[in-house]
């Protein structure tokens, strides 16, 4: 009985079953397979494009870094750390100041040290220098501080003048250093570029350090010309 009913049903609907099944299958395949795959394809295409752009910029960065003159970078680096060192290096600062004063024709009297400020970016200590000499010498000394081997900034001046155009002055000089050497490095950050002012400053720093080194060498040469001790130990 049921078989007969089923057979009748089949005979009645057999002509439209195939088109209906085909339509349902087509819509299902379209919605659940083709469209998601196409959307996924478009999404991944965007990712590939972004990744390729990043890879290209990294390649360009690597090329920039490889083309840089390593010797110049090292020299600039060393000069920068000589002029603004990590540690206070008080004795060398004192020697440099005294040398500048002597070159300007001033006599250096007392020198006292005072610890200065320790704010990030402005670490310094203070040297109080007492000098005597001519007014011209004093002007020359103040000017020479600009091209010194350290960053010397005049905090205060107290000068007493005498009748024969000489003076005795107490100069308070702040000497800067910078202990920070940490760097937050990221692969994808751009290579730092130096502005024209920074390049000029670098050239100036290199010149100052070169001049100072030459003077030191000349001094050392003059010391070595003086015989030290006995030539013959058995005399």
């Amino acid at each position: 009985m049921i078989d007969k009913q089923l057979k009748e049903l089949y005979n009645h609907y057999k002509t439209i079953m195939w088109p209906i099944c085909t339509s349902v299958a087509s819509v299902t395949i379209l919605i659940f397979l083709i469209i998601p795959q196409l959307l996924s394809y478009l999404n991944v295409r965007g990712q590939i494009s972004g990744l390729q752009t990043r890879a290209d910029s990294l390649e360009a960065k690597a090329q920039d870094l490889q083309q840089m003159d390593e010797q110049k970078v090292t020299q600039d680096f060393q000069s920068a750390f000589t002029v603004l060192p990590v540690d206070p290096e008080i004795p060398s600062a004192l020697v440099a100041l005294q040398a500048l004063a002597a070159q300007s024709g001033l006599k250096v009297g007392n020198t006292t040290y005072a610890s200065g400020q320790r704010t990030p970016g402005k670490n310094s200590f203070t040297l109080n220098l007492t000098v005597t000499g001519s007014i011209t010498g004093m002007r020359s000394f103040l000017m020479s501080l600009q091209s010194a081997i350290r960053i010397f900034q005049v905090d205060a001046i107290s000068a007493r003048f005498t009748k024969n155009n000489t003076l005795e002055a107490e100069i308070t000089i702040a000497v800067y250093y910078d202990p920070s050497t940490n760097v937050k490095w990221s692969v994808e950050e751009e290579v730092p570029k130096f502005s024209s002012k920074e390049e000029e400053l670098l050239t100036l720093l290199n010149q100052q350090v070169d001049n100072a080194n030459q003077k030191i060498k000349a001094q050392e040469a003059s010391y070595s010309a003086v015989p030290m001790g006995k030539l013959n130990l058995f005399d």
Binding site: T15, W18, P19, T22, S23, A25, S26, I29, L30, I34, Q37, L38, S40, Y41, I48, L51, Q52, R54, A55, L58, A62, L65, Q66, E70, V73, T74, D76, F77, A80, F81, V83, L84, G121, K122, I135, R139, L142, Q146, I151, Q153, V154, D155, A156, I157, S158, A159, R160, F161, Y176, D178, V183, W185, V187, V191, P192, F194, E198, L201, L202, L205
Partner: protein, 181 residues
């Protein structure tokens, strides 16, 4: 002359033929749709396979570029530190230029026959100037020059007379307080 067409087939059979024709058309359309879908599926699969290969290649390129940059890390760090230090130096250098300029200015503007006894510049740049001269016009000239924008290079904001006296020796003793701009 018009042709008369007489169909001797019974109407039932004619209807049956028409019905079969329609069904045949529907079946042909269904098969075409299935074939098209199969084609789209194959194209989609092919695109995804090609894309997968491209993604893998691009990922490798990116990893290679990253590694290349990592080998140059030291050099780049040097540059970053150098840039930071230069920036700091630029902010520090020249902060005392006004004090030096004022010191030189006062020496330059001091008239002849005027003796500076004391000149001090404090941390804020305020100047205490003591001088003596045998002429009131020298006192006037010095104060006037220090107060003139053209002569003082616009470095001075205020001049205050702290003290003024004349001695038995005929000299005039003046103390000024000069505030910079």
């Amino acid at each position: 002359m018009s042709v008369l067409v007489i169909n001797l087939l019974p109407p039932d059979v004619l209807r049956e033929q028409e019905h079969r024709g329609k069904l045949s058309l529907i079946n042909k359309i269904s098969v075409s749709v299935l074939v098209l879908l199969t084609f789209f599926i194959s194209v989609t699969v092919a695109l995804r396979v090609a894309q997968s290969s491209e993604l893998s290649k691009t990922t490798d390129n990116f990893a290679y570029a990253q590694e290349k940059i990592s080998t140059l890390k030291d050099k780049e760090e040097q540059l970053v530190i150098l840039k930071q230090r230069l920036s700091m130096m630029q902010s520090l250098i020249g902060t005392d230029s006004k004090k030096k300029a004022l010191f030189n200015l006062i020496l330059y503007l001091t008239p002849l026959n005027t003796q500076i006894t004391d000149l001090s510049i404090d941390k804020k740049g305020t100047i205490a100037l003591s001088f003596s001269t045998d002429s009131l016009s020298n006192v006037d000239k010095l104060i006037g020059d220090l107060g003139s924008k053209e002569k003082n290079s616009d470095l001075i904001a205020k001049i205050e007379l702290d003290s003024f006296s004349s001695g038995r020796n005929g000299l005039y003793y003046t103390t000024l307080k000069i505030t910079p701009k």
